[in-house]
Amino acid sequence: MRVALVRSEVAKILSTRLWWGLLIGAVVYVALSALATALTAGMDPGGGQPGSAPLGEPEAYRAVYASSLFSGTYIFAMILGITSMTGEYRYRTITPTFLATPRRGLVVAAKMVAHLLAGVVYGAVGLLAALVAGGITVAARGASLGLGTDRLWESVRLAVLAVALWTLVGIGIGTLIRNQVAAVLIAVLVTFLVEPLATFLLASIDLDWLVRWLPTNASAAMTSPGSSFVDYLDWWVGALVLAGYAAVAAGLGMLLSVRRDIT
C-alpha cells in the first residue's frame, strides 16, 4: 500500500464540504440520542415492558455514552464511505484518479485505509457529543457523571471501531453500486428497514443462528452485547463479520463494476 495514495484520498475527503456536513448530522443525532437516553434512564415505559437501567448502573452509562455515540454516527459514516466511490463516478473525477493510479484495486484499498481513519475521527467526535449532551443531562438529573464506570471505555472503544468499520461497509457498497443516489438509498433502506424486518422474521421462525450474522447484528455484538433477544456473536467475531461484508462487497465491486470502461 502506497502512503501517497492514502494521503491523496484523505485530501479528497477534506477538500469538499461533505465530510463536515455529515459530521454535523452525526453530532446532532448523537446529542439528541444521548439526551433522550439519559432523560429516560430508569423510567418505566409502561405496558409491562422492561424499563431501562436507572442512572448509577453501568448499563445506563454505557447506553448514554457508547450506544448513543454509535447509533448516531454509523449511518453518516457509512454514507461518507459510499460517496467516496460513487462521488468519483458522479463528478467524473474517477478519470484523473485512474489516470494517476491505473491499478484500480489500489485506489479502492487506499480509500479503505483513509476512511478507516475518517471513521475513527467520526467516532471520536461522536463521543465528544455524547459526553457533552449526555453528561449535562445526567448532571441535571443529579446523578454522578459515571465516567469511571466499569468497562465503559471498553464499550466506547468498540463503538468507535464499529463506526469505522461501517465506513468500510459504505465503500464496499459504493464500489458495487456506481450510482450515488441508488447506493445511498439502498444502503439506508437495508439497514433501517430490511434488516430489522429480516431479524424479526428469522427470529420468529427459530433461525436465530442466522440472524446474528446480519451486518447490523454483527455490529450490535460490538456495541450492545447481551441487551437484546438476539444471541449476539462475540464482539471480535462481529468486527470480523462487518469487515468481511465490506471486503465481499468491495471484491464483487472490483469484479463487476470497477473494471468497467470509464467513458
Partner: protein, 299 residues
C-alpha cells in the same frame, strides 16, 4: 535537445459498445517532437481512441502502446503521459488548487509544481475558488494544468481549444508549439480543422472510427489555387493571359487556374483592361476535410 517524448502506436484498434462500433480497425502512429492533430467530426471515435490509449476503456481488438508499453504498465504514469480529456472531470465543490493537489499527492508530484502550473495556465488568482463556478475556458485551463502536472513527455489533449477565447487559443497554440519543440509528443484532437490548422505539423483524420488520412496538412489539400476575375471585357483579358485557360462561371465571372492574382493584375494593367473583381480563391482544405469526413469511405 534530446527527445523526451515517446512514440504512440495504435494498431488495429477496434472498440465496440454493444452493437455500436466506435472505433473500427484503426492504425496510426504519432511521433515525438511535433504537434499532431487528431481530426474528425463529433462521434468519429476520437475520444474513445484516447480513452483506450489511457487504459480507461478496454479495446475490443487491437493494441495501443505508448513508448511500446500499455498505459497501465507504466510506472509513474503521470510523469510519462499527461491527458486533458474533458473539461467536466472535476468535483464542483473542490477548489482548483485542491483538485491539482489531490492528483499531485497520488502521483507523488511536488506541491510547488501545483502552484507553478496554476500560474502557467493563468488560474493563480482563482485557485482557491470552487471549480463549480468556473467557465468552460477556466476548466480547460485547469484540465491542461492537470495534464502537465507530472511534466510528461506525451500529451493527449481532447478538444483543448473548446471554450477558450481567441486570446486563449493563441496562447494554447504557442504552448503546444513550445511543448513539441521540447521534444514531446503532442496529440491534439479537434472536430474543427480551422482550430488546429495553424498549430499542427501533421494530422490524423478519422471518420466513423476509421482512418481516412495521415500525413502533413499540405498533403490533405489538392490542386493549385485559383483566381476569380470579373471584367467588362473578358476577351481582352484572355488575350493578355494567353498561358491560362479561363473557366466561365455562372455569375459571369471568370476563373483562372495556374496563375496568381499578381499575374492577372499585371496582365490586366499592361493591357489596359478594366477589372471589377480580382480574388484569390482560398485553398480547398476545409472542403476537402469535409469531403473526407462526411462520406466515411476510407481512402
Amino acid at each position: 535537445m534530446a527527445e523526451r517524448g515517446s512514440r504512440i502506436d495504435v494498431d488495429g484498434l477496434t472498440k465496440r459498445f454493444g452493437a455500436a462500433t466506435a472505433v473500427d480497425d484503426l492504425t496510426f502512429s504519432v511521433e515525438p517532437g511535433r504537434v499532431t492533430g487528431f481530426l474528425g467530426p463529433n462521434g468519429a471515435g476520437k475520444t474513445t481512441t484516447l480513452r483506450c490509449l489511457l487504459g480507461l476503456v478496454e479495446p475490443t481488438e487491437g493494441s495501443v502502446r505508448i513508448g511500446g508499453q500499455r498505459y497501465r504498465d507504466l510506472t509513474d504514469p503521470l510523469s510519462r503521459v499527461g491527458a486533458a480529456l474533458e473539461a467536466a472531470d472535476f468535483h464542483p465543490g473542490r477548489s482548483a488548487r485542491d483538485h491539482l493537489r489531490v492528483i499531485a499527492l497520488a502521483a507523488e508530484v511536488d506541491r510547488s509544481r501545483v502552484e507553478e502550473l496554476l500560474g502557467l495556465v493563468g488560474l493563480a488568482d482563482v485557485a482557491g475558488r470552487r471549480v463549480g463556478g468556473f467557465s468552460l475556458g477556466m476548466r480547460q485551463r485547469l484540465a491542461l494544468a492537470q495534464a502537465l502536472l507530472g511534466d510528461p513527455g506525451v500529451l493527449l489533449l481532447d478538444e483543448p481549444a473548446n471554450g477558450l477565447d481567441p486570446a486563449g487559443i493563441v496562447w494554447l497554440r504557442g504552448l503546444l508549439r513550445t511543448l513539441a519543440a521540447d521534444g514531446r509528443t503532442v496529440l491534439v484532437s479537434s472536430h474543427v480543422l480551422g482550430e488546429v490548422q495553424q498549430s499542427v505539423d501533421e494530422v490524423v483524420v478519422i471518420s466513423h472510427g476509421r482512418l481516412v488520412h495521415q500525413g502533413s496538412l499540405a498533403e490533405l489539400s489538392t490542386g493549385p489555387t485559383t483566381v476569380r476575375v470579373r471584367t467588362p471585357s473578358p476577351e481582352a483579358l484572355c488575350d493578355a493571359l494567353e498561358e491560362a485557360t479561363p473557366e466561365p462561371l455562372a455569375d459571369g465571372a471568370l476563373r483562372f487556374t495556374g496563375v496568381s492574382v499578381r499575374d492577372v493584375g499585371r496582365a490586366a494593367f499592361e493591357a489596359g483592361v478594366e477589372l471589377h473583381e480580382l480574388t484569390e480563391e482560398s485553398s480547398d482544405l476545409e472542403s476537402r476535410f469535409l469531403d473526407l469526413t462526411t462520406d466515411g469511405a476510407p481512402r
